[in-house]
Amino acid sequence: MSLDKNGIAKRIAQELKDGYYVNLGIGIPTLVANYVPNNIEVILQSENGLLGIGPFPEKGKADPDLINAGKQTVTTIPGSAFFDSSLSFAMIRGGHIDLTVLGAFEVTDKGDISSWKIPGKMVKGMGGAMDLVAAAKNIIVATTHTDRHGKPKLKTKCDLPLTGIKCVKKIVSDLAVLDVTDKGFKLIERAPGVSVEEILEKTGAPVIVEGDIPEMKL
């Protein structure tokens, strides 16, 4: 059975390691924070100028000077730090972030990603997405395997305007975990009860399948 949003977030959380500095995009990626294993410490960066994002504030305690990159009110953890936007992107561009998780409209087997603009629709802007994908050491895309019309979002070429090229390293979808390798997509895990055949059918690019593909353990 395909995963829901929380399932995807839960699987991505397994990629976290103790001491990681992580930037989580808006949407499913944000949910990853809810599944950080108890035995490790992960520091969340918000590109508007915060290291050490804490949980949302209690009701009535929101501080207008303390928001995340999605403009939501947040809190901080002990050991947090505030800084300006240029230093924030120095962290990102300089490769100091260990892991970036973001959503996508399309991802290719070369690691290209489209995530910011749909022709004909209002263009809101790329925000920090292009900086993040261009510089992150390790990018995981959190996405559904197909769009709401059932069309593959994992393809050989992006039809929508690109956010970055040759940058995505791994995809965690509602159906599978795939690595982006020099030779293209490689199937790593299946969602519980989802067959390799279904994954291949719903992927718009060749997928390398080697040996038995295990089910995700969630």
Partner: protein
């Protein structure tokens, strides 16, 4: 030396139609509310505005957009604003969208006397079209240029009479780099103290970057998306 002015109106008294200004803040967090209101009252038009975001319909930069005072926006993300969308689609408003980190660095570079620099962001995308590119360390980069403005308008938490500024929490954001990049930098602050009362180790923006400072009033500090813990 006297950098202290009475209010926002006095701070922008020599601003002219057609000029370029930078406006600090991220969303509605850390925006110079007093000066935005003074700009609305000024009736200045044909302005180019460098700001990460564009406010909402009835607050922040949205107020200037509603009065058609802005000719061009240079931003990274302009959602959350219907009037903006309307003006953009009708061709009344020109928009230059820039990756957020590149925007922040272009502003710092402008203030730091660096005319141009290379970054990887945007290479291979439409952002890179028409731009010079070059390979460094096996990776392609775009040449980006420093940005300065006739006026930089920033909001700080505390300031002193010499223009030294301290920002609070994530209300720092674009305020700190923009303070460096104005031919004239105007700072509005929530707390204005005499020189010597701020700890010189804690200053984010040294006074050399600030030409005018005033004590802001009546801060609304509107929250864009109040999000609270589920109990």
């Amino acid at each position: 030396m006297n950098k202290v002015v009475k209010n926002a109106k006095e701070a922008i008294k020599d601003m002219r139609d057609g000029q370029t200004f930078m406006l600090g803040g991220f969303g509605l967090c850390g925006i110079p509310e007093n000066t935005i209101h003074a700009l609305v009252d000024s009736g200045l038009t044909n302005l180019t505005c460098i700001s990460n975001n564009a406010g909402v319909d009835d607050f922040g930069l949205g107020l200037l957009l509603k009065k058609h005072q802005i000719k061009k926006m240079i931003s990274s993300y302009v959602g959350e604003n219907k009037e903006f969308e309307r003006q953009l689609l009708s061709g009344e408003l020109e928009v230059d969208l820039i990756p957020q980190g590149t925007l922040a660095e272009r502003i710092r570079a402008g203030g730091a006397g660096i005319p141009a620099f290379y970054v990887p962001a945007g290479y291979g995308t439409e952002v890179g079209e028409g731009k010079e590119s070059r390979e460094f360390n096996g990776k392609m980069h775009l040449l980006e240029y420093g940005l300065i403005a006739d006026f930089a308008i920033v909001k700080a938490w505390k300031g002193d009479t010499m223009g030294n500024l301290i920002y609070r929490e994530t209300a720092n954001n674009f305020n700190q780099p923009m303070a460096m990049a104005g031919k004239i930098t105007i700072a509005e602050v929530e707390i204005l103290v005499p020189a010597g009362e701020l700890n010189p180790n804690e200053i984010h923006t040294p006074g050399i970057f600030v030409q005018r400072i005033f004590l802001g009033v009546d801060y609304e500090k509107r929250i864009e998306f109040e999000t609270v813990r589920e109990s």
